[in-house]
Symmetry: C2
Subunit: 127 residues, 2 copies
Amino acid sequence: MTDDTTWTIAQMADDFDVTHRALRHYEQLGLLSPEREGQRRIYSRRERTRLALILRGRRLGFPLEEVATILDMYDDQPGEAGQLRYLLSQIGERRAELQRRLRDVQDGLRELEELEKRCEEDLERLA
Amino acid sequence: MTDDTTWTIAQMADDFDVTHRALRHYEQLGLLSPEREGQRRIYSRRERTRLALILRGRRLGFPLEEVATILDMYDDQPGEAGQLRYLLSQIGERRAELQRRLRDVQDGLRELEELEKRCEEDLERLA
DNA sequence: ATCGTGCTTGACGTGAGCGTCAACGTCAAG
DNA sequence: CTTGACGTTGACGCTCACGTCAAGCACGAT
């Protein structure tokens, strides 16, 4: 029941709407590590999951390096107490940052709605 | 009852935790336009409001150019129907983008919480 | 056998967002 | 009158996240 579907770089680029150059870039930074069939890159389910996380991180404005540390958290499953505690502290930091962003987004949305109202009122007045 | 408090560049930099270089950069891009007292920049309440919006936009990963168009929306109050309609469409786009980011942030938070749980369970198991 | 298609690896270029000098003006304090 | 704190304008440098060649390999189809 293991999903061993694989994809080429072109299919990946197409599915996720990124360039193959970006994919190679993520690989150089260690964010992706597709198998090889000879020279060619072979992407598996795992890489797709990671790529989705990468792109989300990028949309949120996180530097790729930071995204990398988050991705490593998912793999690591270290099993050693010290590392687990360290991981938990890292998670705490990321979460604090995301909560700040959540507030930022909500504030932004509120302001846009106010602005929208003002616009609509002005438009009424002109009619 | 107009608030005519003003600030120097150093106070601005200090209050908002940015460098004076960044402030000049925002000014070059037209995001800020402080008054001058001779050569010196004099920042008023308006600039502080704008700077707060700039920094929030930056935290959300918006390019400064895009932040500029949003800032212009606030000023413009165009009063002309065509421009108002255009402004409304712009607002719509920004809001759609913010809603996407809202989802991204929420998804990210959910995943971090799951990861956190797994960590804590692993930590239990080790105890 | 030569084509096109898809993939590969360098290597250099680019735009955004500042950082970091360098060189100079201005003004109150010592 | 010099010093120091604070400000000014260039101008070049740097990092990040890729874009954009260039040159070449591997393959099936014509």
